[in-house]
Symmetry: C2
Subunit: 453 residues, 2 copies
C-alpha cells in the first residue's frame, strides 16, 4: 500500500502529476493564471496541460461565493513533498490565510491528486487524493484533460483490515518512518461499545493514523472463564471502527498471534498482585504478553486504555515503563450507561433482572465518594459504606472490594494519610449463572461519578 | 538536539539560509549564475547576497580541476527538504550525474549549510552542515558575506553520549519519525573488541543512524559470577564507537535502566533451555529482559548480534518474533584471533598459559568440522572427536559440549538426519581460578572455521 516516500525523487524523466486548482476570492482566473505561470518557472516543473475553469458550488464550509475550478497536468522531477511545499507557498503568495476557517473562501487552492502511479500515505500528503472521486468539481475539469474516472487509481480503503502481524508492523513502521505520522493504538477484544468508541475518537483527535486491534486473547482467560462465549461481532466492530475514522483494524487469528513455537511470556510484579490478579491467576501475564506484542508490532506514539480496568491500566503503565515501550500510555475515563453502569462488553451476558441489579457497583462507588466528601478517611468505613450497598442486592456476589492508592494500586494504611494521596475504590461483583463478573472503580473525591444517578 | 523537521514550513516571514556553491566542470561561473537566477525565480526563495567566487583545490576524490566556490545567503519560506529538492534539480539541470564517482568533478554543487537557527538531523539532510567548519572553501566565501566561524552553529558532537533512557527513546523516535532514518542497534556490555567493531561497521553500512549500547547488565549475572570484575573501559569503548562512526552511545547507570519499582521480567521458553540456560539459571531471563527494554527504547530497523553467543542469538530471535519487536535481528559471524580463539571481552581474564590453551575450543570445533566433512553423522562420534581435544588440555574444564539443530538449537536424534539440517556444535570450557568461561560454536560443514590454523 505504501509504495513511495513523499520525499523521494521520481525516476529519471520525472512523473506526470494531476493537480486540482480552485479559487473563490479576489480574481480567481487571474490568481490561477499567475500561480500556474510561477509553477512553470520552478526548476523541475513543466505545465503540460490545463483545463478551462468551471464554476462550481462550494462544498461544506460557510456561505460563500461560487468557486472557479480547474485541473492541471504537470510533469515534474521534484519529490511530491517539494511540489506540495511550492503549492502552499503559491497559496500563501495569493493571500491565503492558513489560520482561517475550515472549508472557507480562499484566493487559491492547489491540491495534488496523483503523483505518477505512486501511492503515498504520509502525514502531510495522501495520493491518490482520498476524496478525489467524490468531487464533481475535480472530475469535470479532469475530463477536459481526457482523464476519466477509470484512469484514476482508487484511494485506499479505510479502515484497512489486517490479519497478519508482519503486515501490521510494516504498515505502522512505514507510516512513522516514511510518512512522519503519529500513530495511535487502541487495543481491544472487540464487542466494541461507546467506551471503546471514546478511545478511538480521542486517538483520532491526537494522532495522524489510528490502529484498532480486535483480538480475544486466550492467554488472559483462565480455565472455566468465558473465552468461548465472549462476544465476537466482527462486522459491527468494523462498522464502528469505520464510523470513528480508524485507519487500520488488526484482527488476527489466534494462530498468527501465537504461532507454533511461541514461548515467551512477560510478567509484571507488584501492580499485578491482588484484586484481579488474585481472582484470576495468570490473567495479567496473558494481558502483559499480548499487549507487549501488540504494542511492539504497532510501535504507537500513543496507546489508549479505558480506566474501567484500572488494575490492567496500572499493570500496563508499569509494563510500558519497564520495557521502554514506544510513546505514551493514555488513560481514558469510564463511559457509563445513564443509570451509572460502566460500559463493558460483558454486560450483554446479563439477564434483565441482573442488568437492573448491576447498578449497585455504581451506587456503591457513589456512596463511598459521598462519604469521602464528608471527610471519612478510615479505609474500613469507606469499604463499609460501599459494601452495605452491594450486600443489599441478593443478585450480586462480591468478589472483592478494596481501597488502594490510585497511582499504583499500593495497599493503604488503615487511615488514608492527609498527604494528597488519591484513593481508588475498586470492586468486582458476580451476577447470574454461569456468572458474569462486572468491574468498576473510581478515584474518590474527584467528581468522577458526577452526572450519574 | 533534533529541533526541526525537514518538511516543516518555517515561521511566517521565512528563514535565512546559507548555501555553499561550487563547480569544476564546464563553465563554473556561468553555471553558478544560471542556478542562482533559477533559484531566485522559485516561489518562496529570495537571493539576498552572494560572495565572489574563490578558486580552491579539490578535497578528496580523483585528480580533477580546481573548483570555483562561493557562498550564498537566501531567505526562504520553503521547508528545508523542498529547498534541498530544488538544489538537486538545479544540479541535475547543470548536467550533474548522480551515479558518478564520489567526490568527483561536477558542473554544480549546492549544499545547505544552515537553515535559520534550526537543527535538522534527518536521513537526507543534516544542518548545520556537519563538516562546514572544516572546509576553507566554505569558510572563505562565507567571510565575504560577513559570516564568521563564531556566527556558525557547531555541528552536533558524534557520537552523542546518552545516559537517560527517555533521551535514547526520544532521539531514536525523532530520527525515524521526523528524519525518516533507518536506525541500527548494537547492544553490548562494553569492553569492545574487533567482534563488536564488526557489528558497528555493518550497522554503519546498512543504516542511517547507529546506536551502540554499553551496559553491563546485572540481571544476567548469577551469584558468584563475574559482574564486579567485568571490564568497563568506557573511554576506550567510546573512542572505538567514534572511530567506527556510531551516532549515539547509550551508557546508562544501573539505576536508570532499573529504577525503583521496576518489576517486569521477560522469559523465553525452549531456546533458553539447556546449554548456557542450564549452567546459568536466570541468565536468559536477564538477557531477554534487558534486550526487550533496549530494543523497545531504540526501536531499531536492525539490531546486530554476534554469533559467538549462539544460544543468546537463538533466544533473542525467539524474543524478537514472539514480542513482535521492531525491525530485524541480524546475526554476524564470529571474529577470531589469528590462532582461532573467538574474540570475547572475557579473554582479558586469561593468564598467558590459559590464553595459549584456550585455542582448544577452536581446535575442537575444527576437528568436528573435518569429521563432518568426512561424512560422520553420528552425534556421539562428532562429540567424541571434539571432546578428545578438550580432554587433552588439562588447563581446560569442559562445562558442556553439544550438537544441536543450528536453527533453533533443538536436540538432535542420535544420527543427524540426511534432510539438509544444519548442525551446530557448541561448547563451554573453563580456565583458571576464579574461572573464566569461554564459549565457542560453529555450524559444521559450512566453512565457518576456514582461515583458522
Amino acid at each position: 500500500m505504501i509504495e513511495a516516500q513523499p520525499d523521494a525523487f521520481p525516476r529519471r524523466g520525472g512523473v506526470e502529476v494531476l493537480v486540482a486548482v480552485g479559487a473563490n476570492l479576489g480574481d480567481p482566473a487571474a490568481q490561477i493564471d499567475r500561480a500556474l505561470a510561477a509553477l512553470g518557472a520552478v526548476p523541475g516543473v513543466e505545465v503540460l496541460a490545463r483545463s478551462p475553469l468551471h464554476t462550481t458550488r462550494p462544498v461544506g464550509g460557510p456561505s460563500q461565493a461560487d468557486f472557479r475550478n480547474g485541473a492541471v497536468k504537470l510533469r515534474t522531477t521534484l519529490p511530491a513533498l517539494a511540489l506540495l511545499a511550492v503549492f502552499k507557498e503559491l497559496e500563501r503568495q495569493a493571500g491565503r490565510d492558513f489560520d482561517g476557517v475550515r472549508d472557507g473562501p480562499r484566493p487559491l487552492d492547489l491540491d495534488l491528486l496523483t503523483y505518477g502511479d505512486q501511492r503515498i500515505d504520509a502525514r502531510l500528503l495522501s495520493v491518490p487524493h482520498p476524496r478525489m472521486l467524490d468531487r464533481d468539481f475535480v472530475l469535470a475539469p479532469l475530463a477536459d484533460l481526457g482523464v476519466t474516472e477509470a484512469d484514476l487509481p482508487p484511494a485506499a480503503e479505510r479502515p484497512r483490515v489486517v490479519a497478519d502481524p508482519e503486515e501490521l508492523r510494516a504498515t505502522c513502521r512505514a507510516w512513522v518512518q516514511r510518512g512522519g505520522c503519529r500513530v495511535g493504538l487502541v487495543p481491544t477484544m472487540g464487542a466494541l461499545h461507546d467506551g471503546h468508541a471514546s478511545l478511538i475518537r480521542r486517538a483520532r483527535e491526537e494522532c495522524d493514523r489510528v490502529v484498532v486491534t480486535v483480538f480475544v486473547n486466550p492467554l488472559q482467560f483462565g480455565a472455566g472463564e468465558d473465552l468461548e462465549r465472549y462476544p465476537r461481532p466482527f462486522e459491527a466492530d468494523l462498522a464502528r471502527c469505520r464510523a470513528e475514522g480508524a485507519d487500520l483494524v488488526f484482527a488476527p487469528p489466534v494462530e498468527s498471534m501465537y504461532p507454533t513455537g511461541f514461548c515467551s511470556t512477560v510478567d509484571v510484579g507488584g501492580e499485578a498482585e491482588g484484586l484481579e490478579g488474585g481472582e484470576r491467576p495468570g490473567h495479567f501475564r496473558g494481558v502483559a504478553t499480548v499487549v507487549a506484542r501488540l504494542w511492539s508490532l504497532c510501535g504507537p506514539d500513543r496507546a489508549y486504555f479505558g480506566q474501567k480496568d484500572a488494575q490492567q491500566v496500572a499493570v500496563l503503565r508499569r509494563l510500558h515503563a519497564d520495557l521502554g515501550l514506544s510513546g505514551e500510555l493514555v488513560e481514558c475515563a469510564i463511559v457509563r450507561e445513564p443509570d451509572g453502569l460502566a460500559l463493558s462488553s460483558r454486560n450483554v451476558y446479563l439477564s434483565a433482572e441482573d442488568r437492573a441489579a448491576a447498578v449497585i457497583l455504581f451506587h456503591a462507588l457513589a456512596a463511598a465518594d459521598r462519604a469521602w466528601q464528608r471527610g471519612v478517611r478510615r479505609v474500613a468505613d469507606l469499604l463499609g459504606v460501599a459494601g452495605r450497598i452491594v450486600a443489599g442486592e441478593p443478585r450480586g456476589r462480591l468478589d472483592y472490594l478494596e481501597c488502594r492508592r490510585a497511582e499504583d494500586l499500593a495497599v493503604l494504611p488503615d487511615v488514608v494519610p492527609d498527604d494528597g494521596s488519591a484513593v481508588r475504590l475498586l470492586l468486582a461483583v458476580r451476577f447470574g449463572e454461569p456468572s458474569t463478573r462486572l468491574l468498576d472503580n473510581a478515584v474518590l473525591g474527584r467528581g468522577e461519578l458526577e452526572g450519574g444517578v
